[in-house]
Symmetry: D2
Subunit: 254 residues, 4 copies
């Protein structure tokens, strides 16, 4: 690791820190402190003794970034993003449109999977959110794959022939027709919404607008607490994030 690199310092499940290495800086935790200088030169995967424990220096995969990023309005969880990306059909080289940008967590995830030759175009009406998301993308070295657009997808989507559209916004039904126009035939629309009312409305709007194989699901994740001879699901946790509606653009045969 060199100065400027990103590292996840993992001490235990409750102490996970996303750190950008800068000489002269220090990470302080209640289990002990670490000088960034002591991390520079180490390899990802190594561990260092600290005052009251051990600090593991991990390469920042997406879910760690999730733990490490401040996420004021975050509702999309790894369980949801993993499913959406999987069923969206995207792959290295894909072009994807996303709205709204929000904290940029989905943006970063999409950028990771479309690779160097892929492209993510992300719309948001709030400039502050976009700046924040751009900063996060830069931190991860994914900025080049992302186009940040200040604008309202309810007014239309400029890109054409895209492979997938991802929507995480309060009124996605207002964008369904624009998404259809933007997608290549057979392309995928993925929508994330927290309430059953939104679920119904966007689902029916998709059916009416020539999407086929429209599916609505909820992904529930249960975490386990594992001890020898005493294994059980955790007692308290996240009980709901949102629903996912997916569908594919169909056009009339020629």
């Amino acid at each position: 690791m060199a100065e400027g690199d990103l590292v996840v310092v993992w001490i235990d499940p409750r102490r996970v820190y996303l750190v950008k290495l800068e000489r002269g800086k220090r990470l302080d935790t209640d289990k002990g402190s670490l000088l960034h200088e002591d991390i520079i030169g180490k390899e990802y995967g190594e561990s260092l003794a600290i005052q009251r424990g051990k600090a593991h220096l991990l390469y920042p995969t997406l879910d760690y970034i999730y733990e490490g990023l401040h996420r004021p309005s975050q509702v999309l969880y790894p369980k949801d993003i993993g499913y959406m990306i999987y069923v969206s059909g995207i792959k290295p080289g894909s072009t994807v449109v996303e709205a709204g940008t929000g904290s940029g967590f989905l943006t970063i995830s999409l950028a990771n999977f479309v690779g160097n030759e892929g492209r993510v175009v992300t719309y948001d009406v709030r400039e502050d959110m976009q700046n924040r998301a751009r900063k996060n993308a830069r931190l991860l070295g994914l900025e080049d794959r992302v186009t940040f657009k200040l604008g309202d997808v309810r007014q239309g989507i400029e890109e054409k022939d895209v492979d997938a559209v991802f929507l995480d916004m309060p009124d996605p039904w207002l964008v369904v027709q624009h998404a259809w126009s933007s997608l290549r035939p057979s392309g995928t629309l993925e929508v994330f919404i927290p309430t059953t009312n939104q679920l119904e409305r966007v689902f029916l709007t998709m059916i009416q607008n020539n999407f086929v194989d429209v599916k609505a699901v909820e992904i529930i994740m249960r975490e386990f607490q594992v001890k020898e001879n005493a294994t059980r699901p955790r007692t308290i946790g996240v009980t709901h994030t949102g629903y996912i509606v997916s569908g594919r653009k169909s056009i009339k045969g020629s």
Copy 2:
């Protein structure tokens, strides 16, 4: 679409067909028939009228392949694979080891996401399974990214410095140490197992073998039946597939 191409013929949620186009062949369903010749020359995304309905010609994304493939012993579902791939940290260019190959559904999914410059090495002790999986990979044009190895990972994994190891086998605890040796520091082990006993055993074995941030989860998917003013989860469905245990390789600091 040209001869030899793969297409998903989607009529309704219960009638989904994965078809390899060959002149002179015909797809017969209880809603009507389609000559492959009538599909050749069409674009993905188009729909064709059939006797009692409409056939939508969709590009075969991974979950459609899942619906279309015969899968005798399939337990891994899109909900599980999407999550595992997401938290594994893989991306275009990654090198991944998998065991056992099984029907090749996970193999294909991994190959999709590691891209042209990535590599999937998949082990299985059964030659018939590997042949079947190789055929599936070829069908999807992903064969070049996959190395099929006839062998038992419980005896060791030949590859070194890999980014992630995926295990879907009855006794994964016998492979935890081999996976650790095979992974690069900070690399990820993803294990899928159906019972709570296996969950506990592989989790504890990982803790004992220098994996950190070991997490055990269950991903539950609920499907919804959406009608105007009558939206609800489906009545009958899949209630369990398996558990996922993830962890990352940690090494002693130099």
Copy 3:
């Protein structure tokens, strides 16, 4: 057991029979046959050898009756009824109003718990359903506790000062005000409905009509398949029955 008694013949989880003992009759199953005469004189809890297995003669508790009754339109499951009865606050001696009667499964359950000094009044607009439910109640010796009324609760509920009202019908919001009038102050309304739309509508109607502590829940039951060292939830099962909305009548202070 004597002639006329009810017994559950339990052979295995898939072979459960609710039988009314009559001399000269025979129970035929693919595991073997049993003459009612061979059961008469036995004690509940005894088992008898049959051709290919063992028949256990169990006392008919409510959930066995559930398994044994033909239930064409049954959606209420023991998991739901158990919860509703528990939070309803009923006990031996309570007076309860129910609508609609349906197959009478909830009727019988309520009659079981209010005891000899309690009373269940059940409304239905369909005479055939009521006859069927009456027959079921008689079979269980609970008929004396139940008043069957042919009528539409949307037009009003005649009973006053009742302890609880249970609604299992498509448009319960039309009965919320009548239920309020029928209940004693502090009494409980329990509503069962399958869709999220009904959930929202009845919940809000209750809030508007002076019910307090209004709660909406879903009770999900997961069944386990237990084997030594191979314990796991079942693969396929019921994924949704309905939602339960509960609330209590509040009146202005004097």
Copy 4:
């Protein structure tokens, strides 16, 4: 309501108070205060204006008691107790054995449903827990139906021919044989345990000890947050309490 009566003061879902009325006492909350004297003479179900809201005076049903009781080691929730009582087959007049007593919440629930002519015998090895539970039962006027026994059910159960046995203890498999001896033929054993290891062990022990129709389930409750056009499950909540194993005593035919 008279002095000495129990009342639930419900202000909103987060402000629920179980109060025993005593002249001269006062209930203080951050929404305002209430003199017990102002409640005495009122009817259950009435509401009183307080400084910043409304106090609803509700009759204490079991789930409210649950909210109101201090419950240091409580893991059994209404969703679990409702189901266990329902499938146990108990009714007014039943005799039930329970161990351990714990906070007495299950004891009180059982006493409620067996009625005046029923009986609950509850064992615990800790005298302090029993005293606390006895106090709770007295508070609810249910003390006469309950026999508190200081003792260890792993050494045996004195009562014979009981209708049901309920176990909520760490090692219930040590009591399975004693429960069998204590139950009448066809009687029910209900066991509550938090881990999958305990689930497996007690299930298999029951199968080996002549219990039939042994079933293991988990009851999951999801709470909903209902607003007009914005209905959804709650975000954070209880994700696990425990598993329930049920079975019925079978004896050899005479």
